[in-house]
């Protein structure tokens, strides 16, 4: 069968997932975490969503990232800043379409693996400036850079090479998106020192981030936070 991957034909072992209906979650389905937001005086622990474990958890991790991106692009394209050009909008629309395909494909992959997709997320982008072209492109650039670093770091964690190869097909497209957004903001910054080491032993290598580092970033835009506990770390 062309392009057939056996991983899609067998369920994965996984821990139980928690299904949560958005912000109005039933408390019984929540895992409680002991750490509140730093800098706040809240004593009540925040509810946390879990990704699961092993390959299914890593697929959910990718799925969360793609949901973050699609939700962001939809918001931006629904209410674009006045100074966003027609060409900008066309390019962002194409990127948005790619991200939707990634998101829906990962959903299918999770379902095929017998895992529970974590798709009850509620995002908030109020901390970002999305009323100007520069603000929108900077935010998009940040999310695309984050996605590439996340996939670079997660690849070695998969037990099944099928998923590694599929993520490999996605990550270079995210890198193309990221490079374009860099160039749209500042021509020639497609692979600047913020994302590619300029010197030292690892010169010429793009950033790679751990699951924990990426989730800490993603949680800034989630109403109910996600926990990376349970995902493989090596």
């Amino acid at each position: 069968m062309p392009n057939s991957f056996s991983a899609f034909d067998r369920p994965l072992r996984r821990r139980s997932f928690f299904r949560v209906a958005g912000a109005a979650a039933a408390a019984s389905t929540l895992v409680l975490s002991g750490c509140g937001d730093p800098g706040t005086t809240t004593s009540a622990p925040d509810p946390v969503l879990t990704l699961g474990s092993a390959d299914a958890g890593l697929l959910n991790y990718a799925y969360v990232l793609e949901q973050l991106e699609t939700t962001f692009y939809k918001l931006v394209l629904d209410t674009p800043p006045a100074d966003l050009s027609a060409e900008d909008k066309d390019l962002l629309t194409q990127i948005y379409q790619h991200e939707i395909v990634h998101r829906e494909f990962l959903l299918k992959a999770l379902q095929s693996a017998g895992a529970t997709p974590l798709n009850t997320l509620e995002f908030t982008f109020t901390s970002l400036t999305l009323t100007t072209r520069a603000g929108v492109l900077a935010a998009a650039r940040m999310f695309e850079d984050l996605g590439v670093a996340a996939y670079n770091g997660a690849a070695k964690l998969f037990a099944d090479a099928t998923y590694l190869l599929l993520l490999g097909k996605i990550v270079s497209v995210e890198a193309r998106h990221a490079a374009l957004l860099h160039d749209l903001l500042q021509p020639g910054s497609f692979a600047d020192a913020t994302v590619v080491d300029a010197s030292g032993t690892f010169a010429g290598l793009e950033r790679s981030l751990t699951v924990a580092e990426v989730i800490a970033e993603v949680n800034k835009y989630l109403v109910i936070k996600v926990s990376a506990a349970g995902l493989p770390t090596s």
Binding site: M1, P2, N3, S4, F5, A7, F8, Q94, Q97, H98, E99, I100, V101, H102, E104, F105, K108, A109, S112, V148, Y151, N152, G153, A155, K156, F158, A161, T162, L164, L165, L166, G168, K169, I170, V171, S172, V173, A175, R176, H177, A178, A179, L180, H182, D183, P187, G188, F190, A191, V195, V196, A198, T201, F202, A203, G204, L205, E206, S208, S234
Partner: protein
Amino acid sequence: MNLFNIISELEKVDPEIMDRLSHRRSALSALGSLGKKMALAAAPIAIGSAFNKVLGQNNLADPTAVLNYALLLERLEYSFYDQALKAATLTPTLTGIARTAIETIRGHELAHVNLLKAALGAAAAPEPANGFDFGGAFATYPTFLTFAQAFEDTGVRAYKGQAGNIPRDFSPTVGGATVNVLTVALQIHSVEARHAAHIRYMRRGPAAGAQANIMPWIVGKESNGAPAAVYGAGNPVATFPAEDNIMQATLTLTTGLGATYSAADVSAAFDEALDNTTVTNIAKSVVTF
């Protein structure tokens, strides 16, 4: 990393090691007590193709061969940009921000060459004796960018094609640091993708003919003047489909995801891998080395 030393050390511990490593499972259980990292560092020579997944026409038997293949591609790319920056034919046109961008890319390719050489140590293959001859690639600015797009997009496909050939816990010591080779390969791979996107972005500019139809990503298998093979299928086709592929993991994504998505968007959303034989043939079709 000196692989030969590791092998001889392993043989001192287990004189029959060469006989007992016939396939991956027995290799790992036989070597479990010695630590997986050592075992996998030894894999290139002790185990050979036992660790190699059957991924079609990739005939690279071990991580050393994979790294040397990557080294050849990086040397080719470095030489290409170095020659471009020194080409008299491009002096009037490759200027300003465009020249700076090519210098940035050349710097990355040189860094990749140096890193791969460090990782390979004594196992690094020598440079091609006569260097690389790119023929008429530097005749004009648009021609140069067409070749650049071909090399970068091929490079992205080449790295992707080897991801399954690198043991995931192969983590030798390079320059005093422990590095995971698969992660490093991906960290190079995404940089090549950024280069490809930027070269394509440059081709949209007025100096290169304002080709607004060229996107930073690959739509269908449009080659934009580059050799068609860069975007074509590898061998076997089932494993290495052409860039216009719309099927992933047995799913047809245009119609199989609950809504309808265009073939252009679906094909652009996934970059496809290529086997090393096809990649090498593409390189040899446009470069003499």
